[in-house]
């Protein structure tokens, strides 16, 4: 009976994970690791089925975070020759490597994740109302 709620909850948790990744990407846009390598964007990969759900429907039809992928695309380059991490030689001398995050894409992802969270919450609400209707029939 609670399969519907389990599924919607797993969807909400998954969308929260996506928004967490977006927040991490936006927060680390200018971060560099200890070896001078800039931060790489993180992308949450979702997969069907929620192994932690308590009901069979939740386990079969829910969603879970399968993996957090690290974006391997090339870094953004910014011209700043006085920067301590600026490249000293090569054709890109004077440029600083920056994280490969596109803030516009992250913003769109954030809107998408929060709207999807909302949709899952609305589905849970509808399921709750269905159960309440059935109970009203009994009393």
């Amino acid at each position: 009976m609670y399969g519907l709620l389990d599924i919607s909850t797993s969807g909400m948790i998954a969308q929260r994970a996506r928004l967490t990744a977006v927040s991490a990407n936006l927060a680390n846009r200018h971060s560099t690791g200890p070896d001078g390598t800039p931060y790489r964007a993180r992308h949450v990969m979702l997969a069907p089925g929620d192994p932690t759900a308590s009901s069979e429907e939740g386990r079969g039809w829910g969603v879970h975070v399968a993996d957090v992928e690290i974006d391997q695309r090339p870094f953004n380059m910014r011209w700043d020759p006085t920067h301590p991490l600026a490249l000293k030689e090569g054709p890109q001398r004077g440029y600083v490597r920056e994280s490969n995050i596109n803030p516009l894409v992250e913003q769109v992802n954030a809107v998408q994740a929060s709207r999807a969270y909302e949709a899952n919450a609305a589905a849970a609400e509808a399921g709750k109302q269905m159960i309440a209707q059935a109970l009203r029939l009994l009393s």
Partner: protein
């Protein structure tokens, strides 16, 4: 249709011809008391789960607020269901009590 309480099968004995001697068929399945007890235990378990989830959220042991809301919701629904069933049973008992013999 399932008949967990065995009420449908028992109707023959109540409304039909009076059972003479020991000809009444034996009632199979769990008794009403057993069914009630097991559902109360289930509701209790759901409420304990919800309480533990809320405690864990408050103390920081878990961070998925959605799971806590789900546990609370399950406990609430289970309790409402039990309450509705109990009201129906009490109603039926009152009806029986007021019956003139």
């Amino acid at each position: 249709m399932t008949d967990p309480l065995g009420l449908i099968g028992a109707q023959n004995g109540v409304g039909g011809a009076p059972a003479s001697g020991g000809s009444r068929p034996p009632i199979s399945g769990p008794s009403f008391a057993q069914t009630l007890r097991s559902s109360i235990e289930e509701v209790n378990r759901a409420q304990q789960d919800a309480t533990r989830a809320v405690e864990d959220l408050a103390t920081g042991d878990r961070s998925d607020i959605e799971g806590v809301v789900l546990a609370t919701q399950k406990a609430d629904n289970a309790f409402r269901m039990l309450q509705a069933l109990r009201n129906r049973v009490v109603e039926a008992y009152d009806e029986l009590k007021q019956m003139r013999v």
